[in-house]
């Protein structure tokens, strides 16, 4: 009985859905997190009676056919790359990007990753690094004894060094953008890597050529909306239950057949 397997695909799809929703809720306080959504598509149809087939010698055609569908599949979990709310923290090295662009981070193996999480600190040598200690690109080293760290909307980092009355420009934090941000590959730790689907990384600077601007002393909150997640969760749970009911109904039908003759 096909209904059993069809309902099973429905249960599997809703299980994915609940997984995605629970990950969104778990990350509702993660800086720079972008919510995901499970997208579904119907499976191929068995055209038992094909619409448009000839019904008689007179050339009449069947106006509606008999199409039996095979269920549902999860086609992707696209990430919703909208701007998260900025929340002021007052931290010198907390930077939020307002608009397009990812921070570029160099990993220990020399490869680059991209993040929207601007929770930066300095390491023992004065370099600006992420919470994991990987340097933000291009690498900027803050000299010892410097004070008054300022990051402009273009990402220019300047400090006051002892013995100088004018601020010293140390460098400019870059941003990177992708034509298809949703195609980035999440690797955890708020980091993404580029993929063939995301397109090649395009490096640039903030507040120019369509890039967003940098906001020192702010962090970008997750773009998860709890109310919509909870209502999605309820819908997913009910959909799962209904598919389970179809399984038991199909089972009941089979049972009545097998009990027919003793």
């Amino acid at each position: 009985m096909r209904a059993l397997y069809t309902a099973a695909t429905g249960m599997a799809a809703q299980e994915h859905n609940v997984q995605v929703i629970s990950n969104n809720i778990a990350n509702m306080r993660t800086t720079g997190y972008k919510k995901q959504r499970a997208a579904f598509q119907d499976l191929i149809y068995d055209h038992v009676r094909r619409v448009g087939a000839q019904a008689s010698d007179q050339g009449t055609i069947i106006p509606v056919g008999v199409d039996i569908g095979g269920g549902v599949k999860t086609v992707g979990t696209p990430r919703l790359m909208t701007q998260g709310t900025l929340s002021p923290t007052g931290g010198d090295l907390d930077i939020a990007v307002r608009g397009e662009g990812f921070f570029k981070i160099q990993m220990p193996d020399g490869t680059f990753t991209y993040t929207r999480d601007g929770t930066f600190t300095t390491d023992a040598t004065g370099r600006i690094v992420t919470s994991q200690g990987n340097p933000v690109q291009p690498t900027i080293t803050i000299p010892q004894g410097a004070s008054g760290l300022t990051i402009s909307v273009q990402g220019q980092v300047s400090v006051n060094v002892p013995g100088s009355t004018t601020p010293t420009l140390l460098g400019q934090i870059g941003l990177t953008r992708f034509i298809n941000k949703t195609g980035l590959n999440p690797i955890g730790d708020n980091l993404f890597t580029d993929t063939p689907a995301s397109g090649a990384p395009q490096d640039g600077v903030a507040n120019a050529d369509g890039f967003g601007d940098m906001q020192q002393g702010n962090l970008e909150q997750a773009n998860v909306e709890v109310v919509s997640e909870i209502s999605d969760l309820i819908a997913a749970q009910r959909a799962y239950e209904m598919n389970a009911k179809v399984v038991s109904a199909a089972d009941q039908m089979l049972q009545s057949t097998s009990n027919m003759f003793r």
Binding site: A7, G52, P63, G71, T82, G183
Partner: protein, 254 residues
């Protein structure tokens, strides 16, 4: 006397198929742009095996046959997602999708951008504008899709919108002749010709949910199960009746 078995069987076969349709609807209760299927049945009169000349007329036997599954093409509820690449269509129109097998039509407005900058569906097939695929430049931002399907962006640091194309919206005079092709796509069947639709409105930031009505599907499922069980019971009684007839009639007194 055997007819009853066969008639019951014909009903059970259609019920099984109806259950498959219900199962597919329920499985797709969260599929964006999905349209529910409904089953239609018809009587199939047995052309032979009757004779009206008998006293106590012999009636024609009618079987059940499933004639069609028709698509409930009513609009599903729209949900606000705030994603600039999610669109819902207000009206009867479909989006046109370029697939390797030819043009297909969809109501699923969960769109993406591929590495070439083309506007694509979730499975990566380009969504067609009035002048072919809609392509974005790497510096485009603030994608805006107007109600008439015009796609405009802010390119680079421009303050004025640049037009990137217009979504091609088509509707069908005979929409029931569309063939479900899987992957939320429809193929135009014989006699279904796409015509440009000027009345439909595109709503950006919304997505059209499945139009499957959970309550209806659940009650139909119960209905199907109960009917199936009743016919099973009826066939069983018929079998019992026949068995007792054979036992009694063949009971030769010793």
């Amino acid at each position: 006397m055997e007819n009853m078995l066969l008639i019951g069987l014909s009903r059970q076969m259609t019920l099984e198929r109806q259950m498959d349709v219900v199962a597919n609807n329920v499985a797709n209760i969260n599929t964006a742009g999905f349209k529910a299927d409904k089953s239609l049945f018809q009587e199939y009169l047995m052309p032979v095996a009757h004779d009206d000349a008998f006293i106590g007329q012999d009636r024609r036997i009618s079987y059940v046959q499933d004639r069609a599954t028709f698509k409930d093409l009513s609009a599903g509820p729209t949900e606000q997602t705030k994603n600039p690449l999610d669109i819902a269509i207000d009206g009867n129109a479909f989006l046109v999708v370029q697939t390797p097998a030819g043009e297909r039509y969809t109501r699923d407005g969960g769109l993406q951008i591929n590495p070439q900058g083309q506007l694509v569906t979730a499975s990566g097939n380009p969504v067609l504008g009035t002048g072919g695929p809609i392509v974005f430049q790497p510096t485009d931002k603030e994608i805006n899709i107007a109600a008439d399907g015009n796609v405009s962006v802010l390119e680079g640091t421009n303050r004025i919108d640049s037009l990137r194309g217009k979504l091609r919206l088509v509707s069908f005079a005979q929409a029931q002749r569309l063939i479900k092709d899987g992957g939320n796509l429809y193929a135009a069947g014989e006699g279904a010709a796409p015509a440009p639709d000027a009345t439909a409105k595109v709503r950006q930031g919304y997505i059209e949910k499945s139009n499957v009505n959970a309550v209806t599907e659940m009650s139909r499922m119960i209905d199907v199960t109960r009917t199936y069980t009743q016919i099973s019971a009826m066939l069983q009684q018929q079998g019992d009746m026949r068995r007792s007839a054979i036992e009694k009639l063949a009971d030769v007194p010793a």
